[in-house]
């Protein structure tokens, strides 16, 4: 069976040491101020009136139905059979149509390469049988990565053993493959995915240019197919009329 890679984040074990971010930046040599992963801190007052902090390590969620792949005009954004969403930098134009499409804000334009950067679950490391850099370096063992289709993998065992949640809402439910354990606590809104405002050009293309073009070309083909059929019928009629008048003579 083909692997299905997933990432688990046990938020009760995260200590916000940022080792994962540092490892990711070192692994991918990301420019200053940019990172392919992050840890979100959410402060709130609990039921007892005491302040609390929840920590959410985040990155590309490698969704089953990734909108970033859908909007890519050059096919640079693509999804591997094992579920990893990648960017082919040789053909990425850096047009950023995919950036607002991602409700997890996991994509950004790399100012050095001029192409889109994002978490790849450290695909080159995975292909060598290694763990992603962030998982390797997580001091609290809060991050666990593996093949969910392998019943013997750590992620499969953990998925069965604990109650995991995904970052999905009624508005955004695109099959993320990143799970979070919060020991029963609700996930704060600040961490939840949100639909971003798309580029006007992209919206115009999706909602006007493409449907009108498809309808127009389809309509024209239908009209001229109809004209062709009518011409055939008329010719047939002509021939039979001529034959009829010939027989009468």
């Amino acid at each position: 069976m083909v692997a299905k890679y997933v990432m688990l984040a046990d938020t009760t074990r995260c200590i916000n040491c940022k080792a994962c971010e540092v490892a990711c930046r070192a692994e991918w040599d990301t420019p200053l101020g940019y990172s392919r992963d992050w840890v979100k801190e959410v402060e709130y007052v609990n039921a007892k009136g005491l302040p609390e902090v929840q920590l959410f390590p985040g990155r590309c969620q490698h969704c089953d139905d990734p909108p970033c792949v859908e909007v890519c005009p050059s096919g640079a954004s693509w999804k591997r059979e094992d579920g990893i969403v990648l960017v082919d930098h040789a053909i990425c134009s850096g047009c950023e149509l995919c950036v607002p499409a991602c409700p997890y804000d996991a994509r950004w334009l790399n100012p050095v390469t001029n192409t889109i950067s994002k978490c790849t679950f450290c695909q080159p490391r995975i292909d060598k049988g290694l763990q992603p850099a962030c998982v390797e370096t997580c001091v609290g063992h809060a991050l666990i990565f593996g093949d969910a289709n392998d019943p013997n993998s750590a992620v499969s065992q953990l998925l069965k053993a604990k109650e995991w949640q995904k970052l999905v809402t009624d508005e955004v439910n695109i099959g993320p493959n990143h799970y979070y354990y919060t020991a029963g606590k609700a996930i704060p809104d600040a961490v939840m995915p949100k639909l971003n405002e798309r580029h006007l050009s992209g919206t115009l293309m999706e909602n006007i240019v493409n449907p009108l073009g498809t309808l127009g070309i389809g309509g024209m083909m239908a009209v001229f197919l109809g004209a062709g059929i009518k011409k055939l019928i008329d010719r047939r009629q002509d021939v039979s009329n001529k034959e009829g008048s010939h027989e009468q003579h």
């Binding site: 859908e70 005009p73 149509l97 240019v209 070309i217």
Partner: protein, 242 residues
């Protein structure tokens, strides 16, 4: 021509060659262009097509390269041809084809509607106004193709070359924004031309194969011109060509 009816030369060999060159490149560029886009958001061809073409050519990078280079060859050859033959071919063609005034556009739309209606046996009593070398639909299509081809060539160059040559990240989103609008214009222009090509191909193949013949041999039947393009026939008569 197999017919023994009197004919006259209406097209030179180079015009015929550039027409078929244009047709071949249009077909290739449309097929490869539709193969580049895999995402549903901007994809126009059925999903199997990008997969098939990308597998055939060893990946999307090769397909993008082929489409980009093909586009530049298309624009380059037609551009150079137009420059070299501007007075002899391009200018007379533009004079015949360009629809620039609202009055001309209304007249051409009306003649096109009547022609189309006749195909379905409608508006039988409304005759098509006498036509010159190009009829209303051809003039409208010609104007649209010229405008769209220029748009396609310019936006296509930007789409292909700008990611390689320009620094999108340093432009605070401006160059990327231009790229996204160029994509919209490129796609819209291609779709507009395709819309017109459906009619163009139908008329050439089914309704008036005589005009297709002129695009093969360069010869047109005099009787055909007299019947379909009376104003052009009168012009040819005045010039002593028929």
């Amino acid at each position: 021509m197999s017919s023994t009816k009197p004919t006259i030369k209406v097209r030179t060999k180079d015009v015929i060659a550039i027409h078929w060159f244009n047709a071949f490149f249009w077909l290739t560029l449309v097929l490869t262009g539709f193969g580049i886009i895999s995402g549903d958001f901007v994809r126009l061809a059925p999903a199997f097509w990008p997969t098939f073409l990308q597998n055939l050519l060893g990946g999307n990078a090769n397909l993008v390269l082929l489409h980009g280079i093909g586009g530049m060859v298309w624009a380059g050859v037609i551009g150079v041809y137009a420059l070299l033959n501007f007075k002899r071919v391009v200018l007379p063609f533009l004079k015949n084809v360009l629809v620039l005034t609202p009055k001309a556009a209304i007249a051409d739309v009306s003649s096109m509607v009547i022609t189309l209606a006749h195909l379905f046996g409608l508006l039988k009593h409304q005759s098509v106004p006498p036509q010159g070398r190009y009829n209303g639909a051809q003039r409208l299509l010609g104007t649209m193709i010229i405008a769209c081809s220029l748009a396609i060539a310019v936006t296509g160059m930007y789409l292909f070359l700008s990611p390689m040559l320009l620094d999108f990240a340093a432009s605070a989103g401006v160059l990327g924004g231009v790229f996204r609008w160029a994509l919209v214009i490129h796609l819209a222009a291609v779709l507009l031309v395709l819309l017109g090509l459906v009619a163009h191909i139908y008329f050439a193949v089914v309704e008036e194969p005589e005009s297709l013949e002129t695009m093969k041999s360069g010869e047109a039947e005099v009787a055909f011109i007299k019947h379909h393009n009376p104003l052009w026939y009168a012009e040819l008569e005045r010039e002593g060509k028929v």
